[in-house]
Symmetry: C2
Subunit: 146 residues, 2 copies
DNA sequence: TCAGTTTAAGATAAAATAGTCTGAATTATA
DNA sequence: TATAATTCAGACTATTTTATCTTAAACTGA
């Protein structure tokens, strides 16, 4: 079990982060991505297609083609990616799965989870991937294998 | 997609919470549970079997049989249930799915998620289900449909 | 003891997610 | 213009999760 995001979403997040490390406009092939991130080729291809269709990436066919960010890095947050792949039901669903859970009718952890949910949201929107990429460029902050 | 726990785990949490509302030792049938919690009968049966095997519940066959807590309510936390059903990988896996993520090699949200992970853990262990049941007995705190 | 009620167990089915394969379309470049 | 590299698209397979069905076993109470 992936712990919060679907596997597909994890791959999407990883791929976009990787692209954010590249000079603006440079195209990166699926081949490079799958090799560096260790993600199944055709599965990643589908995910990138999806992100392209939704405008988060742009693509180019042919030799020296590949994928690049489809928007300014400063305008992309992790939340955008999660929204595109998994959806963001976590922002309004009861964590224990009670259909009736609400402020009037709270489950045992309603308030506690409310606070956590907001913090998770904050984690996903408070930095854009340009900032994240900058931090990750420092060698001690890299999260990709060479 | 369930938002953090698997559907199976959500059902387990709901069922155990429901049993915690009952007078100690009273047996509750699958029929009552599926009706009140709106969970598929045979699916819930499997889950309860599993929890029984793991000692969290006890069961009795025959008329007036059913399920009841297998330990003192004060000794059961939500964490025990999650541990039994989903496992607790969330306590040590990278939320973005990077296999290499660690303190030396953190992902973009490593520290932030570290704090959240601890708070989620805390949410699951800080109250036992006896306390939760007590709170939920107050009508305005009920989370079950009649 | 017998009938009815309940859990136990295992096989099966359905749906969702993850992953693979193949061929077509596009494009850079030699 | 021909070739090779790349994404695009769709069908297919595999695995995991969710759900159902059926029969057996255990138990209660009449």
């Amino acid at each position: 079990m992936s712990i919060f995001f679907s596997r597909q979403c994890e791959y999407a997040l990883q791929a976009v982060m990787y692209l954010a490390l590249k000079p603006e406009g440079e195209m990166t092939s699926i081949k490079e991505l799958t090799k560096k991130l260790n993600i199944p080729y055709h599965f990643l291809a589908k995910i990138l297609q999806d992100l392209t269709y939704k405008g988060l990436l742009k693509s180019q066919k042919g030799p020296s083609g590949g994928f690049a960010l489809g928007m300014q890095p400063k305008d992309i947050t992790l939340f955008h990616i999660v929204e595109a792949i998994d959806g963001v039901d976590f922002t309004n669903k009861c964590v224990l799965g009670f259909p009736e859970c609400s402020g009037k009718n709270p489950c045992a952890v309603h308030d506690k989870w409310g606070g956590l949910r907001d913090q998770i949201y904050d984690m996903l929107v408070s930095k854009n991937i340009a900032q994240m990429a900058k931090e990750m460029k420092k060698p001690e902050y890299r999260a990709f294998v060479d």
